[in-house]
Amino acid sequence: MKFKWQNYNAAYLFLSPAMTAIFIFFFLPVLAALVMSFTDFDIYSLGDISRARFVGFSNYIDLFKNPLFWKALGNTGYFVLVGVPLSILISMLAAMALNSKMLRFKPFFRLTFFLPVVTTLVAVAVIWRYIYQARFGLLNYLLSFVGINPVDWLGNPRWAMLALIIMAVWKGFGYNMIIFVAGLQNIPETLYEAARLDGANGWQEFRNVTLPMLAQTTGFITITTLIGYCQFFAEPYVMTDGGPLNSTLSIVLMMYKEGFKFWRMGYSAAIAFILFGIILIITLIQLRIQKHHEI
């Protein structure tokens, strides 16, 4: 295409609605939040801006001294480190089963596994709150058949986070499963045939053909799942409100509470930017690894 003014002009016209919206309603608030994170803007300042002070980095310093913040960070880490591998593993297994030539009724299974993905998280959290209920809940009832004593899933700090992880995996694995199915279908059959000719068994086929061929898909899935899991919020908001003992308090939930419950907006903005930093680091590491593999 030639470089002509009218070409630019049309491009800018096409871009302008979306870009205007993004700059005004996304980038501008991000900047405002950044400035806010260096102030003690809070409920006192809402009515009278002279009651806000620039405080430099003290919000950030306070946060690093606040055990609750480390707790939230640790919880989020737990959720991510257990939830993401579990979710990817289950997605991959489900995808391989769906891709198996032995299996019929594939549309049925695919649909079933995908249903939780499209349903409303709030509604799902409401349902699971009752399923996890210690005395009358369905889960404990089922577990009683295998001799497991009732667990107070959402009331016990040891189990509450695990309960949220199980629900989150149940809710989300179908999505990655679909992507894995697509990835699996893109692997040429000839590779498997060649492997079989070399006498590879099922496990070797998986190790030497499936896994390497899925590397790129897995990388994509890992990044998106990681970022999504880092921001988990609605599950604890609806089901536990961060409790018991703050064992399910996530970074975003803490940010939300500080910001929208107590209106300590400066403090809340600082949490948001730390979260941003973490996500950024994860993304960069992941990209580095991926690049390394490609070379």
Binding site: Y44, N66, P67, G155, G243, P244, L245, N246, W263
Partner: protein, 452 residues
């Protein structure tokens, strides 16, 4: 797919010949444009339909869940008396109320009137969001201060200025299984915590219920009431520093912990799915709760249970009986932003009338703030409500500062951690002091600034 269309279809008849404009507008089917314009127009239309213009004869009144549900009938009466006025009641859920109100304040979309939990009043005072009512009260023929519980009224006064009129009152006391207490030789509930503790051990040892107590760990009223009974003020130095390592607070913590160390309360279950079923199923025998549960217990407990439960005042550690409890309940406040203050005050006066308070109790079960309604209703003859009446004369407000909600939350969280054995009572005290002092830094700065 791409066919040259005739120039007549051009939608843009611009005579100007700038290249870009011309090329951009050429050859677009009318239908395409209609489609592009139609939907946004539709959205605009929907928006227009719903953004109802605020009229000066409308009173917007926000009330919490159950109260809002029962307001309808009273509002109808009010509107019959004042045909020129219209009241719009909006229900907001308790769980989200605090956030919602602050959001509305931040968003300049506060109503004319609002039901406000009385621990929240200081927050809205300091925000300069609610209207002082002293002048209006002075001229009022309907509201007589003498008819109100003094401890409750006090929660509405900040630094000597009145900001809310109590609507209904609330405090916490013991709900218990009368039948079990009687079987163990107690025709009335113990008056001290130590006696109650002994009785609880007995209940459990004899297998009357699975647990003696149910003390949900998601609240703070119980521990704060116990501390106040011990003479703790919770905060010190004009409420600008925490005072949680003081012996008054520490002793309350130790007693609280003892209940759990002897496994008298179920640990964890802060979400018993159905409280009433559990109470009836002999799961626990003692529960600390407020007046709303009078109605709920009557409604939700099975018939055979009705004679088996009753209420008793808070025990105390020593001396005074009933022991101090927290001053709760809701007041009605008027927002500064209201453009309709005269009409709003009319509604406050209306809702404060003894006969309207009476009707509201009949509808909602909320105990009237106006004591003359208690007489009309014969609540003194009712054994259970009379206990509340006594208790309401032994209530104290929590510290009246905006940070209280956050401090209360911190107390609750640290107490929970203590009960789980993660920290000792001493650590609860020192950690609370550190965190609360940090929280109050802004308050100290503002106090300092005002002094200058």
């Amino acid at each position: 797919m791409v066919r040259a269309h005739s120039m007549e279809k051009c939608c843009c008849q611009s005579k100007r010949n700038t290249v870009s404009q011309n090329s951009f507008c050429k050859k677009i089917k009318n239908t395409d444009f209609y489609l592009l314009i139609l939907l946004p127009a539709l959205i605009l239309f929907f928006n227009a339909c719903h953004s109802v213009e605020k009229k000066d004869h409308v009173i917007d009144f926000w009330a919490m869940g159950v109260e809002a549900q029962h307001l309808g009938e009273l509002v109808t009466v009010f509107e019959q008396e004042n045909p020129e006025l219209h009241v719009r009641v909006q229900a907001i859920p308790w769980s989200a109320a605090h956030e919602k109100l602050l959001t509305a304040y931040a968003g300049n979309s506060t109503p004319d009137l609002c039901q406000l939990g009385n621990t929240w009043i200081p927050e809205f005072v300091i925000l300069n969001a609610i209207e002082p009512l002293d002048a209006l009260l002075k001229t009022s023929a309907d509201i007589d201060t003498a008819q109100y519980f003094s401890g409750i009224w006090a929660t509405n006064e900040i630094d000597g200025t009145l900001y809310g009129i109590p609507w209904y009152v609330d405090t916490r006391l013991l709900f218990y299984r009368k039948d079990i207490f009687e079987e163990l030789g107690h025709s009335t509930a113990p008056t001290t915590w130590d006696d109650l503790f002994d009785l609880s051990l007995k209940i459990q040892n004899e297998g009357k219920t699975e647990y003696a107590f149910y003390l949900p760990l998601n609240g703070w009223h119980e521990i704060v009431a116990m501390a106040m009974q011990n003479g703790s003020t919770l905060l010190k130095d004009n409420n600008s520093y925490g005072d949680f390592d003081a012996p008054e607070f520490q002793n309350a913590l130790r007693f609280f912990l003892k209940l759990y160390e002897h496994q008298l309360c179920p640990l964890g279950m802060n979400a018993i799915s159905n409280l009433y079923q559990s109470f009836a199923d002999d799961y626990f025998a003692i529960y600390i709760s407020g007046p709303w549960n009078l109605g709920e217990f009557q409604k939700r407990l099975p018939e055979f249970m009705q004679a088996k439960w009753t209420v008793a005042p808070m025990p105390s550690f020593a001396g005074e009986y009933p022991g101090i409890s927290t001053a709760g309940g809701s007041s009605i406040v008027m927002f500064k932003n209201s453009e309709n203050k005269a009409a709003a005050w009319k509604l406050i006066e209306f809702l404060s009338r003894p006969e309207i308070q009476t009707r509201f109790y009949q509808l909602s079960g909320d105990l009237p703030a106006n004591t003359s309604a208690w007489n009309i209703l014969g609540l003194h003859q009712n054994e259970r409500t009379e206990v509340f009446f006594q208790q309401l004369h032994h209530v104290k407000p929590t510290p009246r500062i905006p940070e209280w909600e956050q401090i209360a939350l911190k107390i609750q969280q640290h107490v929970e951690a203590m009960v789980y054995g993660d920290i000792t009572p001493e650590e609860v005290g020192s950690r609370l002091n550190i965190e609360v002092n940090r929280l109050l830094e802004k308050r100290r700065w503002l106090l300092e600034r005002e002094r200058m």
